[in-house]
Each structure stands twice: as structure tokens, then as C-alpha cells.
């Protein structure tokens, strides 16, 4: 994992969380959308919160596609679920909302899950982009020590 790739993951997390919350806020203002009155849906799209939310979700989408081009789906999804944690922290410290013990437990579970997946490889499906002999350590002239959890056979860039 390079610094640039961490930035992309952060982009997926932040844009997704911000976009979702703005969209949710906007849809509350717009009111009920009915199957029988589809026009209400297009009125909702004109709400500024909904519009900005959609723009942010487009930024999320670009980062998400970027991440999926070099990492597994089952790696990207948990790693970016930190957005939920971000939302809860914003609610607590910026909006001064009450965060119940049950929600703190939820935050702990998500963080634990992210820790689990982040310790593994990013790519398992098409792991032949880079030769195992050309890992970062080897290029920098460091002794070729293989970190625990790295599969030498697939030679995946971490």
C-alpha cells in the first residue's frame, strides 16, 4: 500500500459518509416520495442538500472505482466502513448528539473488522501484477524479510 492508495481509501470513506448524511438530511426535508406521484422524486432532486449529496457521492464513486482497480471488493468494503465510525464521531463531537453505549459497541466492532481486513492482502484475485522479488523492501535494498501474513506465492503489493 502506497501513500497515494491510502489517500484514495480515505477519499472513499470521507466522500461516502459526507454524501450519505447530506442526502439523508435533504430527503427528510423533501418529505415522502410516493410510487403514484413520481414527480415528487424529481422535486426532491432539486433540494440543495440532495444535490450536494449527489455531487459528493459522485466523488465517492470515482475514488471507489479507483480503489477497486487495485484491490479486492472484500478488502475495499470493510476498509471503507470506517465512514460509519466517522459519522458517529461527527454526531458526538460536532453536533453534540448523544451516542449510546450500544453505538460505541458498534464503533468498536467496525474498527475491529477493519483492523482484521487491513492486516491482510489487498488483492487476492489477480495477484500477479508484481513479482515477489520486487517488493518494496527488496527495491530499497533492505534484507528480504517477509512480514507475517504476506503471501509470497501471490506476491501481492500491500
Amino acid at each position: 500500500m502506497t501513500f497515494r492508495k491510502y489517500l484514495v481509501m480515505a477519499g472513499v470513506t470521507v466522500f461516502g459518509a459526507a454524501g450519505d448524511s447530506m442526502l439523508s438530511h435533504g430527503m427528510k426535508q423533501a418529505g415522502n416520495v410516493s410510487l403514484h406521484h413520481l414527480s415528487t422524486l424529481f422535486v426532491a432532486l432539486l433540494n440543495p442538500w440532495v444535490a450536494v449529496g449527489i455531487l459528493l457521492l459522485l466523488a465517492f464513486f470515482a475514488s471507489y472505482m479507483n480503489a477497486l482497480s487495485w484491490a479486492d471488493l472484500t478488502y475495499v468494503l470493510p476498509a471503507t466502513s470506517l465512514g460509519y465510525v466517522l459519522l458517529a464521531l461527527v454526531a458526538k463531537f460536532a453536533l453534540h448528539e448523544q451516542v449510546s453505549p450500544l453505538r460505541w459497541l458498534g464503533i468498536a466492532l467496525i474498527s475491529g473488522g477493519v483492523g482484521f481486513v487491513a492486516g491482510g492482502e489487498a488483492l487476492t484475485s489477480h495477484g500477479h501484477h508484481e513479482s515477489p522479488l520486487l517488493t518494496k523492501d527488496a527495491r530499497n535494498g533492505a534484507p528480504t524479510s517477509v512480514p507475517a501474513g504476506t503471501s509470497v506465492a501471490t506476491g501481492v503489493e500491500r
Binding site: 477497486l68 468494503l77 458498534g106 464503533i107 467496525i110 477493519v114 482484521f116
Partner: protein, 126 residues
């Protein structure tokens, strides 16, 4: 009746999201590492290559279905039910689908992560 509508919409969201995620992940693997591509050719070449990928177009269509299902679900049901239910079920569904269709090696580490995150999301938004 409203309850049935809400759960119907939740399952529509989950199904469409999983189909969309798998198609998009597959499309981006076909396109290749975007960072390496950008170094070799310009932004527009890469964008053109992504937009002309059939799986990408189908994936975006599936995501649009999921998005509009979400809008309907949110108007029928509580956001505190719809958002966590749809998100956690999508995590689990994606783990299965990625293993079956994308041949990702979903090992014990990733299963634990998927279950922890799904449970955490359910608690957080509930």
C-alpha cells in the same frame, strides 16, 4: 402493508447493490490498475476505457436501481431500520458474491471482518 413495502425495498437495495458491486469490481479489474494506467496514458484515455467497459455500464445501472430503491425505502420506513439493514445485509451478500463470482480468496480473516462490520453497522445505525 407498509412494513412489507419497506422490507421489499430493503431486499431490492441489497440485491441490486451486490450485483452492482460485483459488476463494478469485475469491470475495474478488467480495466487494470488506474494508477499505473494514468502514468502511461492521459486521464481521458483511462476514463474512456472505463466508460466503454460493458460490465461497468451494467454495474452503474444496478447501482441506480439500488439508489432509487433506497429513496423509496426511506420514504416508507425509518432510516434507522432501512440504512443499517440494507448496509449489513449488503456486506454479507458481497462476501459470498465476491468469493463465488470474483474468485477472491475470502479467508477466515475476511469472513470475521465482514461479520464484525455488518454487526457493527447494525448496532451503530439501529
Amino acid at each position: 402493508m407498509k412494513h412489507l413495502y419497506t422490507w421489499g425495498a430493503i431486499f431490492a437495495i441489497v440485491f441490486a447493490s451486490v450485483v452492482g458491486d460485483v459488476l463494478l469490481a469485475h469491470a475495474m479489474k478488467q480495466v487494470g490498475d488506474v494508477h499505473a494506467l494514468l502514468r502511461r496514458s492521459g486521464v481521458w484515455t483511462v476514463v474512456g476505457r472505463i466508460l466503454s467497459n460493458q460490465n461497468f455500464v451494467l454495474g452503474v445501472a444496478a447501482m441506480a436501481v439500488a439508489f432509487f430503491s433506497l429513496l423509496f425505502a426511506l420514504s416508507w420506513g425509518d432510516v434507522s431500520l432501512v440504512a443499517p439493514a440494507a448496509a449489513s445485509l449488503t456486506f454479507i451478500g458481497n462476501a459470498f458474491a465476491a468469493r463465488i463470482f470474483l474468485h477472491e480468496r475470502v479467508d477466515r480473516r475476511r469472513w470475521i471482518a465482514a461479520v464484525l462490520v455488518a454487526a457493527g453497522v447494525a448496532l451503530l445505525a439501529g
